[in-house]
Structure formats: C-alpha cells, structure tokens
C-alpha cells in the first residue's frame, strides 16, 4: 500500500479532502489481501462485493459533504464471531461453516453507520478459544513477521491483517486476552474496553461475563476513534452500560505528568522473559522521563486469576455452545438413529478439540457435587481480584505490565500441553475477571518479533489508557519491523 505508513485517521482525512477515495483504498485492501493472504491467512471470508458497493456509496456521500465519522471510507477487518447480515459468521468452526447471519451485531452496525468498509471476516481460534489461531477449522493465521510463529489468538486474524497492513484497523473480541495478546505478538495496538462499554449483541458468545469487543490499529489514536464509534448503551444487551460515552479523541494529549503507574510484582519478575521485561522497563523509563511516576506493587490475587478463569469461562461456554445442537442452522451429522445420537454426533463432528476440551471442563465444574468446589470458588476468587484492583486504583491511575510473558511462540509449541498455552494469558486475564479496560501498545522487538506492554485502567477510564498510549507513541522509538511479506 502506497499510503501504508499513514494512520487510518490520516488516510480518512485524505479521502474526505478528495485526495483519494474509499473505493480506491478498498480496492487496495482487497488487492493486498489477494496478494498476501495465501500466506498470512488472516481472513476466513472476503466480502469484496459488499465492500466495494459500500465504498462507492460512501464516496458519493463524502462528495456530497456527508461525512459520517472521522473514519468514514476506511476499510476494516471484522473477526468472524461478529455477525454481519448476509455474510457467513463461522467462528472458525466446522459447526458454523455454512451459517449466514440474518442480522448484524450492534458494534458492527455502528461501524457501518460510521461508513467504514468491511472487507472481510477475520480468522480466529474456533469460538475464540485459544491463544494462537491454530485452533481454526480453516487453517491457522500466521504471524506476518515470521510465518513460523503464531500471531496469537484468539483474534489472530484481526491482529495479523493490521500488522500486514492489508487494512489499518480491525475488530476483535477479548475474553481472556484475545485482543491484547495477538496485538502484542503482531506489534499493533489492541484495546479491550470496560465490560459493558460496547454491546455484545451479535457477538457469538464464548464466556458472556468476560467477552468484550474491541479495536486493533497501528496508532492509539485510531483505536480511540473506533471506541467512540462503537461504545454506548444498547437496549439489546442487558449488560451494556448506560453511562455516557466521552469523545475519546479528546483524551489524546501528549502529557502524562503526575500520573501514577503501578507495576504488579507478579508480572514483573521470573515469570516474564528477560527481553520482554527489558522492553517494558524501558517503556517505564520513557514514562518517567515524561513526568509520570511508577512503583512496584504486589497483586497476589493474580495468582488465582488463571485458575478461576479456566473454571468460569468454560462453565459459561459449556452453556453458550449448547445451542449448536444440529437441529437448526449448524452442522448436522449425516446419519443418526436417535435424537440423542443426532445431537451427540453433530457436536462431535462440528467442534474441534480445544472447544470440546473446554465444554468438558465447563460441564464438569457445574455438575452436581462439584459446583461449590469449582464454580463457587472461582466466583469468590473473581471478587478477590476485583477488590485487589480497587485497592491499587485507590492509589494509582494505571497498572502497567508486559501484555504477554514472551514474544510469539512457534506453531505447535504448545500443542501437547494446553496449560502451557493458557499461561500466555497470565497478564491479560485479570482485567477480564474485573471487567476493566486494558490496552496493549507495542513497546519493543526481540529477534524480529514484537513485544507489547499492557495498560489497565479504572472501570470506564479508557481515556487515561489512550492518553498514556498516545503520549508513549509520540516519544518512544521502536524499531520498524518489515515483516516476512
């Protein structure tokens, strides 16, 4: 892409000023996908016709002076667990390989209303369960900087398409780090907003009390704009928040003086790779040089976060995925003698191993006699984690840590040991458990692979995260990665 180094917001300005058109940029995005996606595999489906039609429509409006948002005309990738009317929403699963959604998710509708152009549905781990996008029924997505490495997951396609500059912005979903971890592995910005900030209506549920939609971009600024477009109460989602949505671009000020940063000791020691740690320490130095302060604090409850997450998320998933029963719109087995057999076989054939593993875990922890020992206990741990965040936020404005303990791992590295893969989410999961906003920003490179840092904020205080992230991007110099493309 000739205009590749521009941010989405800068590129949008060029469209709005008549220097380029949405159709031209959309065609460039489609060309880029056509040229590179056989290697990256960021997309499960490409919605070329829909995209070009919409782009032409938007160009007409822009010409007539009707600019519906600061990002009007910009192509965007959408994770394939977000419903877009008339297109396939597969969740990267055989179960839904032929499911065409008859309705559009609220977040996607708001993106459409803002005149962004959906170019395709991005690859992911099946039903958003995984940290590598290896668990896709439609082949893994590859890390654009080294094809031997995973892009992270579950929103690996959404991260990779932005990293590969097929598009400059995309949407993902984050249940236990599924936006931030791939953002870190792919060297892009990824935001998980406060739980309830963006409606989940039309997001295929993994774990309802943890799922949240969020943006990917190269600049914090672009993510701030995207959040402004998607956030706000939706009567279709009873858990979406009523609170007014600030204009997040107002938070983009290059001034962090006086801000107090907490660094959890639990995510700042032996559990983290030295190179990652060094990058994050360097980022802290940058903040100190800009007038912020930091202290190491202990957040012991983080130790319980991973275990309780792997009870709560599978428990909710076991119920959320029960609707895929072979009766209505899902894969149905070709032969069955009874109702029970039809349901069992359809599910056995339609789900991949990781999904089955989590359904089994979830079913087990909710079973009579085990509920209190597992689910009940996990809910208590969740409250303890929330309380610990509250305590820290009493004294600090933001919590900073590495987004992941390592840089991207190789394909197959954790295939035999799922728990090792789950450990990737050690830094990201606490924010989901507490419903807090968290932003991953690229902060370094090691061996040609990106490193990300995570900023966790108070509930509804995405503004401080944007301010911190924006200021950092103005001052930090991170080596430019060329990628394998």
């Amino acid at each position: 892409m000739s205009k590749a180094k521009l941010s989405a917001i800068e590129l949008a300005k060029k469209i709005h000023q008549g220097e380029t058109t949405s159709v031209e940029l959309t065609q460039q995005a489609l060309d880029a996908i056509a040229a590179t996606d056989d290697r990256v595999n960021a997309y499960i489906s490409v919605t070329a016709e829909l995209a070009l039609d919409k782009a032409a429509e938007v160009d007409k409006r822009i010409k007539a002076g009707d600019i519906r948002s600061p990002l009007a005309g910009i192509p965007i990738g959408i994770k394939d667990n977000l419903c877009l009317k008339g297109t396939k929403t597969t969740c990267a699963s055989t179960m839904l390989k032929n499911f065409v959604s008859p309705y559009t998710a609220t977040a996607v509708q708001r993106i459409l209303d803002a005149d962004l152009i959906p170019v395709g549905k991005c690859n992911m781990d099946e039903f958003a369960m995984g940290s590598s996008t290896e668990h896709s029924a439609f082949s893994p997505t590859k890390n654009p900087f080294n094809y031997d490495y995973v892009p992270g997951g579950s929103s690996g396609g959404s991260a990779a398409t932005v990293a590969a500059r097929q598009v400059l912005v995309s949407l993902g979903s984050d249940t236990g780090g599924s936006i931030r971890q791939p953002a870190a592995y792919c060297g892009v910005v990824g935001l998980k907003p406060t739980y309830g900030r963006i409606s989940r209506y039309g997001l295929v549920a993994f774990a309802s009390s943890l799922d949240q939609i969020g943006p990917f971009s190269h600049t914090v600024e672009d993510s701030a704009h995207l959040l402004s477009l998607m956030a706000g109460h939706d009567p279709h989602d009873s858990t979406s928040l009523q609170q007014a949505v600030p204009q997040f671009s107002d938070a983009l000020v290059d001034d962090v003086r006086g801000l107090k940063i907490a660094v959890p000791a639990e995510l700042f020691g032996e559990s983290i790779d030295p190179e990652v740690l060094a990058s994050v320490k360097h980022a802290l130095d940058v903040y100190v040089s800009m007038g912020a302060t930091y202290e190491i604090v202990s957040m012991e409850s983080f130790k319980a976060a991973l275990a309780s997450y792997y009870v709560i998320a599978p428990a909710e998933a076991s119920a959320n995925l029960a609707r895929f029963d072979g009766v209505r719109y899902t894969h149905r087995t070709s032969e069955a003698e009874s109702l029970k057999e039809m349901i069992t076989r359809s599910r056995s054939e339609g789900f991949g191993d990781e999904v089955k593993r989590r359904i089994l875990i979830g079913t087990f922890v909710l079973s009579a006699g085990y509920y209190d020992a597992y689910y009940g206990k996990a809910l208590k741990a969740r409250r303890v984690i929330k309380n610990e965040f509250d305590r820290v936020f009493h004294d600090y404005d933001v919590i900073l840590s590495p987004t992941t303990p390592t840089t991207a791992f190789k394909f197959g590295q954790h295939s035999d040991n799922p728990v090792q893969m789950y450990l990737n989410d050690i830094a990201t999961i606490p924010a989901n458990m507490a419903g807090l906003p968290a932003l991953s920003v690229p902060c370094g490179v090691h061996n040609g692979l990106p490193i990300g840092m995570q900023l966790v904020g108070k509930a509804l205080d995405e503004a401080t995260l944007f301010r911190m992230g924006y200021a950092y991007q103005q001052h930090a110099s991170i080596p430019e990665l060329e990628g394998a493309l």
Partner: protein, 487 residues
C-alpha cells in the same frame, strides 16, 4: 392395615402463562394458533450472538401474583440457566430462577366443605416456556418417523408457583388449584385455562401412615389438564402407592404421566434418568432489582382480591355464598356485574346480582356465548334492572326486553315503548279498568264478598287481558279488593 391408615402428602407446582403481549426475553408476539414458527426472533431461535432482554410487563405481572399470594417480594432475584438438550429448547438451556427467586413465603387459604385451611407457598419464580414438538407418524417421539419443531411458544413468560407439601386430599388439591386460578384471573396476570395449558399443574404425591412425621417417597404427576383429572390422578396414585407400601414394596421416586383416557398414571422417567441441570447464574442478565418505589406502585395496582370481594359482596350487598361463587368464578361476569352496578340509579346490588347470575347467565349460556364476549351492554342491563326496580316492567316483561336488547343498540326505554309502554302501576289509570271488569262480573264479586278471595285471581286475569299484561299485578289486586268493598 388398610387404606384408612394412610394419608396423602401433596405439594403442587403450578405454571401460569403470563398475559404479556410479547415473550419474556424478546419482542416476538405470544399469539397462539398461528402458522408454526411465525412468532420467532433471533432470541427464540437461539441464533449465535442473540441476547435476552427481560420483559418489564412480565415482571410486573409476576410481582402482582406474588403480592396476591402474600409472598415476600425479593428486592434482588437472579435468573439462572437450567441446562439440558432438547429440540424444543433452542438455547440448550432454559432461563429460569433457581436459588434466588422473585417471591418467597406466601400462602393461599382454601375452603373444603366449610373447613378453611392455609396452604403454604414456598416460592414463585419466573421462567421461559419451551417450544413444541409435533411428532409425525406416532403419538410420541418413540416410533415417530420425524418430528417438527414449532417455536411460536418458545420464550413465553411463565411463573411457577410452588406449594409447601401441606395438601392432604384430592379435594384440597382441587380447591388449591381452583383458588390459584381464581386469583390469577382476578388480578389479570393469567388466563387460568387448565384445558388450554395456560395454567399447568404438576402434582407431587407421597403417602405415609397417619401420625408419621417423615415424608414418603414422592412421585411427580404431569399432564393433569382438568380439575377432574387432578382428583382422579391423586385417587389413583393414593391407591397405587398405598398398595405398594402394604405389599412391602418401595415407592420409586419418579416422574409419572397421567392418562386421561385410562385415568391411570404411568412412569415417564425414574430418578436415575433425572437431569443434572447444572444451574448457574445467567451472565447475560443482571440481577432483577425491585425498588421500594416499584413495589409500592405494584401494590397500588393490585386489584381487589377474590377473598376480599367475597366478604364485601356478602356484607354490603347481602349476596348468598352461591351468588358470590358464581360471580367470582367467572371473572368476566364479575366485571360485568361491577360495570352494571356503576350504571344503575335505583336497583339494589342484590337484585342486579340475581338478575345477572340468573336470567342473563341463562341466556348467555343458551347462546353458547360468555361474558367476555357479550352482545348486550352493561348500560342496557342497568336500565333494565332500574325499570324492574321502579315497576316500569315486570320480571316477565324484563325477560322479553332482555331478548330484544341482544345484538341491538336500541335503548331499554325505547324497547319498552315499542312493546307498548311497559307496566301500568298508576292507580288512577287502572281503577276505571277494574271498575268496568268488576261491574261486568258481579257474580264473582259476590263470591269474594262471601270470603272466597281466591276468586280475585279470575278478575285479575281479566284485567291483565284487557291491559295486554301491562298492569302491575300487586297494584291490580289491591284495587280489586278495594273496589269490591264499594260495590
């Protein structure tokens, strides 16, 4: 030992379909009888990404039911997922309330043969209904070639009213369900139709030797679709379970189906086949909070309960127990009665009640209609009752006027005029007629004078004949006796 040494222990779970226009968690219509799968949404279909949104009207109706049954309305209640697979349950879980229901600790007073008894109500919770499976090629899924799923009913709002095991006989069970039905109909939260399934009772039955404190093993009876079936099913279960105990065999905890045709219960599934529903709090719905203000508003909205109304009818209107029962059991008739009362000027409530429960009810039944669908207005009946009260029409004439009122917008006074002007009770107008008749029948007059007062009936008949039946009988009789004296 014999049957007489045993007693029944019964607890009843009643599902009431709430009278909401839309479903419990989506805006789809609750209309029945339409083409299959026409009242459905992404929520009923459990499409990927669909989310439930609680129907506020359903909450209002559930709270009203709780208040009417003297429950403690919980400030915070929680919806849970009840997990099981079945094609009529598209999500694979039913959204219900489990450990934190909306209403707790209520009761209903019943009356069986003059003896009143308080039946405890453990809880009332809200939940959604399932869809319907239509089996093809057989009556049940066993043997069917295929089954068709209709989701029109899926997601309809229900409340489940769970009683304490306080019921001790089939008659009490019937009275309890009848009482519930009357209440939910009166407060307009449910149609209360057992036959059509808008009210469904599952009956938990066990037996124990009289005097024992511990409960026996219970069986749950489903598919009891009429009051008669409730009694028959309980009678059958009592005999079945008692026989088992007497034979030294164990009663098995199981779910049994009542068959209307054979009047027997048969095993549906045993305890070992019982589901582990894996309940957990529904993460898509925040806890249901009822504020003090809302609760106060709901209390204001609660209509007069049948028990209070009964007492008022007896005390203020001097209605008999039977009249009260008729007026209370048919809610539409009761509403009509109330409407007529508000429109009469002189007729007494007792007279109005008598007319409506008697003459009008008879005609409505004859027409195979009902009071919710009347083609006669409350104003017409009010005017008719007043006309009788003021002597403008006789009871006999009133029946004819009533017939003419049906399907007619014509006022009662006009109909009376068309029929010749109504009853003549004016003494001066009637006196000339009486004088003339008496003078023409002096032989009869003499008989009366001789003490044969019955002979006055003949003269009365003559007067009626000459006035085309419009003369007011008691006025005529008095006139005859007065005029006889002067002759």
């Amino acid at each position: 030992m014999s049957l007489n040494d045993f007693e029944l222990v019964i607890g009843i779970e009643v599902h009431c379909q709430l009278k909401t226009k839309s479903k419990l968690f989506c805006p789809s219509s609750t209309t029945f009888g339409d083409e299959p799968n026409t009242h459905i949404s992404e929520v009923n279909l459990a499409l990927p990404g669909a989310l439930p949104v609680l129907n506020k009207e359903a909450v209002r109706l559930a709270v009203l039911a709780g208040l009417a049954l003297d429950c403690d309305i919980q400030k915070t209640s929680v919806f849970s997922r009840k997990n099981y697979f079945y094609p009529d349950l598209p999500k694979g879980y039913q959204i219900s309330q489990f450990d934190k229901p909306l209403c707790l600790n209520g009761h209903l007073d019943i009356d069986v043969e003059g003896v009143s008894k308080r039946i405890g109500i453990t809880r009332i919770h809200m939940e959604e209904d399932a869809g319907k499976l239509v089996h093809q090629g057989a009556d049940s899924i066993k043997g069917a070639t295929h089954s068709i799923v209709d989701l029109n009913r899926a997601g309809t709002a229900l409340i489940e009213i769970v009683s304490e095991p306080d019921i001790r006989s089939a008659a009490e069970a019937r009275a309890y369900v009848e009482g519930l039905k009357m209440i939910v109909q009166h407060i307009d939260v449910c149609d209360g139709n057992l036959e059509e399934g808008s009210l469904r009772a599952d009956i938990n039955i066990s037996v124990r030797k009289k005097g024992e404190k511990a409960f026996g093993t219970r069986a749950e009876i489903k598919n009891v679709n009429s009051f008669r079936s409730i009694e028959k099913a309980i009678d059958y279960e009592f005999k079945r379970q008692t026989a088992l105990v007497l034979a030294g065999e164990a009663v098995i905890q199981e779910t049994r189906n009542y068959d209307e045709a054979t009047q027997k219960t048969t095993s549906l599934r045993g305890k070992e086949e019982a589901h582990d529903y894996r309940y957990f709090p529904e993460p898509d719905l925040p806890p249901l909070v009822i504020t003090d203000q809302q609760l106060a508003d709901f209390k204001m909205q609660l209509p007069e309960l049948p028990s209070i109304k009964l007492k008022r009818y007896q005390d203020e209107y001097q209605l008999t127990a039977h009249e009260c029962k008729v007026l209370l059991q048919d809610v539409a008739m009761g509403h009509f009665f109330t409407a007529v009362l508000s429109q009469v000027t002189s007729a007494k409530p007792k007279k109005v009640a008598l007319w409506i429960t008697g003459e009008l009810n008879a005609v409505v039944k004859e027409k195979q209609s009902d009071f919710s669908n009347l083609s006669i207005s409350s104003q017409q009946i009010a005017d008719l009752c007043d006309a009788m009260d003021t002597g403008k029409v006789s009871g006999k004439m009133a029946k004819d006027v009533q017939v003419a009122c049906f399907d007619s917008k014509t006022s009662v006074s006009e109909i009376i005029a068309q029929m010749g002007g109504g009853q003549i009770s004016d003494t001066s107008e009637l006196e000339t007629v009486v004088q003339d008749i008496l003078k023409a029948n002096m032989d009869v007059v003499e008989k009366i004078k001789a003490g044969k007062t019955n002979s006055a009936n003949f003269l009365m008949g003559q007067v009626m004949k000459s006035t085309q039946g419009r003369a007011k009988p008691d006025v005529v009789l008095q006139l005859i006796l007065d005029v006889v004296e002067t002759l």
